[in-house]
Amino acid sequence: MDFQSCVNIKKEWDIVGARQLGRDISRKVGFGTVDQARIATAISELARNIYLYAGTGKVCFEVLEEIDHKGIAIIAMDNGPGIREISQVMEDGFSTSGGLGAGLPGVKRLMDEFDIQSEEGKGTEIRVVKWLR
């Protein structure tokens, strides 16, 4: 964990900004084009959730360097309304916004690790990791 940078999510265009920065970082870490697309798509989903449900928040990136492997961690955090039923938002097809409901379960499949913490009225923090193979 020697590197951290964040993108504030305030307007819609910040979703694009976050995924472009994430893609650049993952390219530098050494991910191939398919994993770069997976990571950038996951960032897009997480950033859009912040924009749609919390209004504002931020997406941070960490380059993970351990003895035997490298990776990227993405942390999406907001002080929004929080999620009452986490199991519900992890179901495919569940959506309160009229979207496809592919967001969070999709992000989980795109990445290697997925952690979610949320408290009603306080906010949500999601941390995902992709390891370089």
Binding site: E12, W13, A37
Partner: protein, 118 residues
């Protein structure tokens, strides 16, 4: 930002060459439907060769525009979806099964011609 829509005989051709944000995608949906309406085009090819990310929102907009155009009587074919984008969409759980696709612009036009039986 507006995505240019080109008319070729009774077809409309679109090549998306920018990183799509939500607003641009929605604007494109509106622009395409009005262009179909005013031009009377019977077929549309949307080429995605230069698109390196399709997330769930963009997928929904693209899927919707195909259905909406169909309602108006115009067939849409999506072409040039990159390998990385196809893999990511399936991981996301988005199958786009009802959406006609083709490998590239050329194949897309052939497919349109077949579908429209010209």
């Amino acid at each position: 930002m507006r995505i240019p829509i080109l008319k070729l005989h009774n077809y409309l051709l679109i090549s998306i060459q920018i990183d799509l944000d939500d607003q641009t995608a929605i604007q494109f949906q509106e622009d395409l439907l009005s262009k179909i309406h005013e031009s009377g085009a019977s077929g549309v090819v949307i080429d995605l060769t230069s698109v390196d990310i399709i997330d769930s929102f963009i997928a929904k907009v693209l899927g919707d525009v195909v259905t909406m155009s169909d309602l108006m009587g115009a067939k849409v074919v999506l072409t040039g979806i990159q390998p990385a984008v196809a893999m990511t969409l399936i991981d996301l759980g988005i199958h786009m099964q009802d959406v006609p696709t083709a490998l590239d612009l050329e194949q897309g036009l052939i497919k349109l011609r077949q579908e429209l039986e010209e």
